[in-house]
Amino acid sequence: MARKLIYLLPIAVFAVLAAAFYAGLGRDPAIVPSALIGKPVPQFALPPLLADKPGLATADLKSKPVLVNVFASWCIPCREEHPLLMHLARDGVAIYGIDYKDQPADAKAWLGELGDPYRRLATDMEGRVAINWGVYGVPETFLVDGTGTIRFKQVGPLTIDVIDRKILPLLKSLAR
């Protein structure tokens, strides 16, 4: 009898598959929320880019709400969002930067030209840490609360709209 049952195994597996396919139909595959929202930030430690500014590690993200911005000097949209970051920094928002797959000299020249909004600035030359953060491409910006949990993620450049409607209200509610 048990031998016979083995032959039923393939069709049982397929039944489960078919049910999952049916459930999967009709859902919009274009909506891809980040798996990391509501999760703690990944374990990592990155060296500093600049001599006079500290790098970034998991432990640094557990004291207060901050924005973590992933950027690169070769990324044109990053140039677009940069003035917004400068604004936020001037308004007192803590921003930490991760420089992604970049030559340190290029990144330094870039910051020299456009200004440096970051309180901490790490370099991820290999892009390995960015993978753990689930980064698709640069720029991406994460909002991390005081307990080291990711609360919001912006894929692509920040916009005034996103800052006013999502980031600033969230920061305000977290500060309370």
């Binding site: 032959y7 039923l8 396919f21 891809v32 000097s73 070769w74």
Partner: protein, 664 residues
């Protein structure tokens, strides 16, 4: 007018398929020869009708008849002829017609060249084939009619620029030839279950069809990966994307099927497992079609996202796969195994191969569908990336690859493992040398990558040693070796070629993945970048217009130690009709390494983002794939199943009454 004829031909083809799916089945069951004989002319007629429909579609694209909806959506009068034709399958509706065309092509092949098959088996195979055909023809007519007319717009929308590439123009036909080719193995399996008989002769008939499908899929995947490498502009060649996995799963299962059918053919064992593999391989091809067509999984490739189609295809899948697996559950227990063998034997090695390949396929399925399951259970959407596959796939591949050269060294039934391994000493030495060389060149690299290079050498030299053993090379006089070479079955050369190709591909994959050097920088004219010992000077960017796009072409002068190496000219193209950009990479290859350049966006200060990669052994990836393909082709010409050689077949039939017994 021509389009209406094409549409009508599809309707007729569906009717013919329905007759072909039912009448011969009844005839075979009732021993009614005239009804059984309906299968052959029906299969040929079905092919002719679908071919007529396909040709009228090609005609509509070639003459740019924009009153046909899919022509208006996917073609443009400015496009070169090649891409007008490729546009036929560069869209959902047309690609489904191509799918059915290939299906009926195989059916007609069995009808024309399957004269040596027992008439009832042939009729049943063709009936099963027609059931699949009827399902997909109904799907085309109901949910994706390619001949829908519209009021002709002045000009078309143009083909997706990413698809306007010679590699991609020929990629889907190859892939489909592979996917659909496995339908033959499936139809043979179902027919065998209906007949209740699987024997060596059955395996011998199934194998060439499976081989043909496998060859097409191998070259299709190879070309797809090459296409991704040179057009996507990020230096990668495999992304574990659901659509790539959709072609890789049937490949893994099909590779297992090829090997297990060998055991059925030679030793009359593993029958029920081989039948299951045949069903699973084609099921995976169908699921592959489903994944791409229905949009249940997020993928950059999906170009037809339509739930109504999804429901229809899911219905087809459930009938085809569920039905065949139910038949399997009912009939397979009666397929008693007959050939016994010891664990250490050629059969044992092939079982080992099958277990690991099946596990590999299961891993890829799990990784591909896991997000779907999580989603179905109401959790959040997740995506499973390359880290999962690298972590799970590698441990399964390593023992498999170690075993590859050993398997062919073992004898059937009972073998001497130690003796086989001893005869591979040369391969072992080569592997060791490769490890040492890798260690010397890349002392910084991870240990497992260096070991993987050793594994690649083990595969390549192991394949050579196997051939040398059979030819008694260096042991017997050269004339005797030559004589043996002339008489050695071609399948032995095929095995060596395919296994060595696997090693070559492995070497390419590992060294590209681990030792690739990458530079992404904003460059201004005159800037020099150092890339793995090469100096790359950026000269600037000039406009370079084309027939249906606006191009920007960069010039990079590559030198090494002051000596000129190459001038590379990556381009960035803007297609105004589709309002889309594509990157034309520039690749300079030495055969052992690739220099790879892609042009990115300009910054407002006169600089351009340039991506440069140095990928050691990258060409090996596709060269190895081509070798595996060649191995499959050589095996197809093996005299055992040189199809279309009736004289020999008749001669064999005379000495060897059916059903053929084990061995050869």
């Amino acid at each position: 007018m021509i389009d209406e004829i094409g549409h009508f031909a599809l309707v007729l083809a569906l009717l013919v398929a329905l007759v072909q799916a039912s009448v011969p089945l009844y005839g075979a069951a009732r021993d009614n020869a005239p009804l059984t004989a309906v299968a052959r002319p029906a299969a040929i007629a079905q092919f002719a009708l679908v071919a007529l429909a396909f040709l009228s579609l090609v005609h509509a694209f070639v003459v740019s008849d924009f009153s046909v909806s899919i022509v208006a959506e996917n073609s443009h009068s400015d496009m070169p002829l090649l891409y007008k034709i490729a546009g036929v399958w560069g869209n959902h509706e047309g690609s489904m017609v191509l799918w059915v065309l290939i299906l009926t092509f195989f059916g007609a092949g069995v009808a024309l060249f399957g004269g040596n098959l027992p008439p009832t088996l042939q009729a049943r195979v063709l009936a099963v084939q027609a059931m699949i055909g009827a399902g997909f023809l109904a799907y085309i007519l109901y949910a994706s009619d390619p001949f829908i007319r519209i009021v002709a717009p002045p000009d078309g929308n143009g083909l997706n620029p990413l698809l306007q590439d010679p590699g991609l123009a020929s990629h889907p036909p190859c892939l489909y030839l592979g996917y659909v080719g496995f339908s033959m193995a499936f139809s043979f399996a179902i027919a065998a279950l209906i007949e209740g008989k699987v024997d060596a002769a059955w395996a011998r008939w199934v194998r060439p069809w499976t081989l043909l499908a496998w060859c097409a899929l191998t070259i299709g995947i190879t070309m797809g990966s090459w296409w991704a490498y040179y057009t996507l502009g990020w230096g990668g060649f495999w992304f574990w994307d659901p659509v790539e996995n959709a072609s890789f799963m049937p490949w893994l299962a099909g590779t297992a099927l090829l090997h297990s059918a060998l055991v059925v053919e030679k030793r009359d064992a593993l029958k029920s497992w081989t039948i299951l593999l045949a069903i699973v391989t084609f099921s995976l091809s169908l699921i592959g079609t489903f994944l791409v067509r229905s949009g249940v999984l997020t993928s950059v490739h999906a170009f037809a996202v339509d739930p109504r189609r999804g429901v229809f295809i899911l219905g087809l899948l459930t009938i085809a796969i569920g039905g065949s697996l139910a038949l399997y559950a009912a009939r397979a227990p009666r397929l008693a195994p007959s050939g016994l063998f010891a664990p250490v034997s050629r059969e044992g090695a092939l079982v080992f191969n099958n277990l690991l390949l099946a596990a590999c396929a299961a891993t890829v399925i799990t990784g591909t569908l896991y997000p779907l399951f999580v989603d179905a259970l109401g959790e959040t959407k997740i995506s499973v990336g390359p880290p999962f596959f690298n972590l799970t796939f590698t441990p399964l591949m390593v023992p498999l690859l170690i075993a590859v050269p050993i398997g062919p060294m073992l004898t059937w039934k009972r073998a001497d493992l130690l003796g086989a391994v001893q005869r591979l000493w040369a391969a072992g030495v080569a592997a060791l040398l490769a490890v040492l060389a890798g260690w010397y060149i890349h002392s910084r690299g991870p240990v497992f990558a260096v070991l993987a290079l050793g594994l690649a050498a083990w595969l390549v030299v192991g394949a050579a040693v196997e051939l040398a053993e059979r030819l008694k090379l260096f042991r017997a006089p050269l004339s005797e070796s030559w004589h043996r070479a002339l008489h050695l079955p071609r399948s032995n050369f095929a095995t060596a070629l395919a296994h060595a190709g696997l090693g070559i591909t492995l070497a390419g994959v590992v060294s590209t993945a681990i030792w690739r050097v990458e530079r992404i920088q904003t460059l201004h004219p005159g800037d020099v970048v150092d890339l793995a010992g090469y100096a790359v000077r950026f000269e600037g960017v000039v406009p370079h217009p084309g027939p249906n796009f606006e191009g920007q072409r960069a010039t990079l002068v590559v030198t090494r130690d002051g000596l000129p190496v190459a001038v590379m000219q990556p381009e960035k193209k803007h297609f105004p009709v589709a309002n889309q950009d594509t990157a034309e990479t520039s690749i300079h290859t030495t055969g052992f390494a690739d220099l790879y350049a892609a042009l990115g966006d300009p910054d407002p200060r006169g600089g351009w983002v340039v991506r440069l990669y140095y990928s050691p052994l990258a060409p090996f990836i596709w060269f190895g794939g081509a070798m595996m393909f060649a191995g499959g082709l050589v095996s197809l010409t093996d005299r055992r199943f040189r199809i279309g050689a009736p004289a020999r077949q008749r001669a064999r039939a005379a000495v060897e009454p059916r059903p053929a017994t084990a061995g050869d």
